[in-house]
């Protein structure tokens, strides 16, 4: 996969789970997907369509049942350096203070305490959190602050690839808009490849360079979003794109699974 630096590539990837209640379940079916380097690709799909599985496979947390996944030029066989993950719940460690949690990746890599502190503080500042939160525990923070900390933790080791699993789904709308803008700021400065999963059409249209619609474990539409940045949610072009994507999304989401 030479020349695939910063690229996320799924080639005919399938993932099957064995569940006690439903037996054999295919979360992904022969899925092909390409996230070009330094682009922000959104995967849009209804709940249960396999979006989270897609990210878990890209993060190397689980192996695919079939097919091949390449991330940053490497075939994924497990978690690999240079990849950050932000989950819907944030997964902040309840016993760690913010500064220690943000610098967890550096601690794991054996970075000195002084450097961890310095880089942790930088990451906290980048997501617009006040320095006073660094001694806080996660349960002392609001939902929006927790998601900012989760983003700071993923950013702190300086990843080239960022995998984001509905990271702003559990916060209120104004906070979500702030967080989206902060993410865009970070991305425009650092130029990571971002694979962002969401079921929110407006969020996908606001953030994405490219938008992939997914249902029943397959990609069903690949739509470029040629809107200039910064995007205005009330601009006619934005609203037109939003409606077009929503029509496509609804059509595919309501249709049944395609036969193999």
């Amino acid at each position: 996969m030479a020349g695939d630096a910063g690229v996320i590539r799924f080639e005919a990837v399938s993932k099957r789970y064995q569940t006690p209640a439903r037996g054999e379940v295919w979360a992904l079916r022969h899925l092909d997907l390409l996230c070009p380097a330094e682009q922000l690709t959104c995967v849009l799909g209804p709940s249960g369509c396999g979006k989270t599985t897609l990210l878990r496979l890209a993060a190397g947390l689980e192996p695919p049942t079939a097919g091949r996944i390449g991330v940053d030029g490497q075939t994924v066989t497990g978690p690999q350096p240079g990849v950050g993950l932000v989950s819907q719940e944030g997964a902040l460690l309840p016993w760690r203070r913010v500064i220690d949690d943000v610098a967890l990746g550096l601690e794991i890599s054996g970075v000195s305490r002084a450097e961890r502190r310095a880089r942790g503080r930088q990451a906290i500042a980048r997501v617009h959190l006040p320095p006073t939160v660094e001694r806080s525990l996660p349960h002392e923070l609001s939902g929006g602050m927790r998601q900012r900390v989760a983003l700071a933790r993923a950013l702190c080791p300086g990843p080239r690839i960022l995998l984001m699993d509905e990271p702003f789904a559990s916060v209120d709308e104004p906070t979500r808009h702030h967080l989206q803008n902060e993410l865009l700021q970070v991305w425009q400065t650092d130029g990571q490849t971002i694979l962002f999963v969401t079921h929110n059409v407006e969020e996908a249209v606001y953030l994405a360079d490219r938008l992939i619609v997914m249902t029943f474990g397959r990609t069903v539409a690949d739509l470029p979003v040629p809107l200039p940045r910064p995007r205005d949610r009330l601009a006619p072009a934005f609203v037109d794109t939003l409606l077009a994507v929503r029509r496509t999304f609804t059509k595919h989401a309501l249709a049944g699974p395609a036969a193999d």
Partner: protein, 279 residues
């Protein structure tokens, strides 16, 4: 807390101990079984005095022997139960292997094992293992009888292991995955995620195990064939009708138990600081 509330709190806490002292004082008047408060106080204030009528060492020496036995048995239990408990909590294979045996063994009172332990280990101790016939020269080491340590280990092991298992099982997979994505090895996942996440439950297990260990030691020392320790002093004092030594031993047992629990409670508070208070 304001001054008035503090005084009320202290007074409330003192009601029951004062009532016990009054009942004790009344019961001891003219009794040959219940010693006077003064006689017991005299024993407590002279902890190094060898009891003249008893075949036992001083109160301080008895307490030291009991504490030493508990430290060995409880320490061994903590060292073995925490890793096994974490294994049971995190691995289906280890759970299937050990859980049925643990469930059956934990309902057996550790005191029931005393005769078995005495048959298995006899009077052997670290001193007999190292110095053989000369073991008696190493008094304190010779008092750490393997049989007693084994019984304390059995008593403390199960609460520690079961709590460690519950704590480890309660650590959410998303925390482990967050660390794995950041490059954590299995050892780092254990040290940075599972152990701190399970720490409050582990310390709760240590508190329960410590309490059981301290109760078991007294029972084990009262058991015939054992020498030395506070339990032995109670048994001997009873046989020789020197009840002031029995009462003084009971008070020391309570005080040491309270100190042990206090230390473990402090540790519990320290490792549980991150847990939000339930209201």
């Amino acid at each position: 807390m304001n001054g008035k509330r503090l005084i009320v709190r202290v007074l409330l806490g003192a009601v029951v101990p004062l009532a016990i002292l009054v009942v004790w004082h009344l019961a001891s008047a003219g009794s040959v079984v219940v010693p006077s408060i003064g006689a017991v106080l005299d024993v407590l204030l002279h902890p190094l005095r060898e009891p003249p009528a008893l075949d036992a060492t001083s109160l301080a020496s008895g307490a030291l022997i009991s504490v030493l036995r508990v430290v060995c048995g409880f320490g061994l239990a903590a060292l073995t139960a925490v890793p096994i408990g974490i294994g049971v909590g995190r691995s289906d294979t280890v759970r299937r292997l050990l859980a049925p045996t643990m469930a059956a063994a934990m309902v057996i009172s550790p005191i029931a094992w005393i005769p078995v332990a005495i048959i298995a280990f006899g009077l052997s101790s670290p001193a007999t293992a190292i110095y053989g016939d000369e073991a008696w020269r190493y008094g304190l080491l010779d008092q750490v009888r393997f049989a007693i340590v084994a019984v304390i280990w059995l008593g403390a092991f199960f609460p520690i292991a079961l709590n460690a298992a519950a704590g480890a099982r309660g650590v959410r997979d998303i925390y482990i995955e967050a660390a794995r994505v950041l490059g954590a090895s299995r050892r780092q996942v254990l040290s940075k995620i599972i152990l701190p996440g399970a720490a409050p439950a582990i310390v709760t297990g240590l508190r329960v195990g410590g309490g059981i260990a301290w109760r078991v030691i007294i029972a084990a020392e009262i058991f015939p064939g054992t020498r030395g320790g506070l339990g032995y002093m109670i048994a001997t004092a009873h046989e020789q009708a020197s009840y002031e030594y029995a009462f003084a031993s009971i008070i020391v047992i309570g005080a040491i138990g309270l100190a042990l629990d206090g230390a473990l409670r402090l540790a519990a508070r320290r490792v549980s600081r991150w847990q939000p208070k339930e209201r």
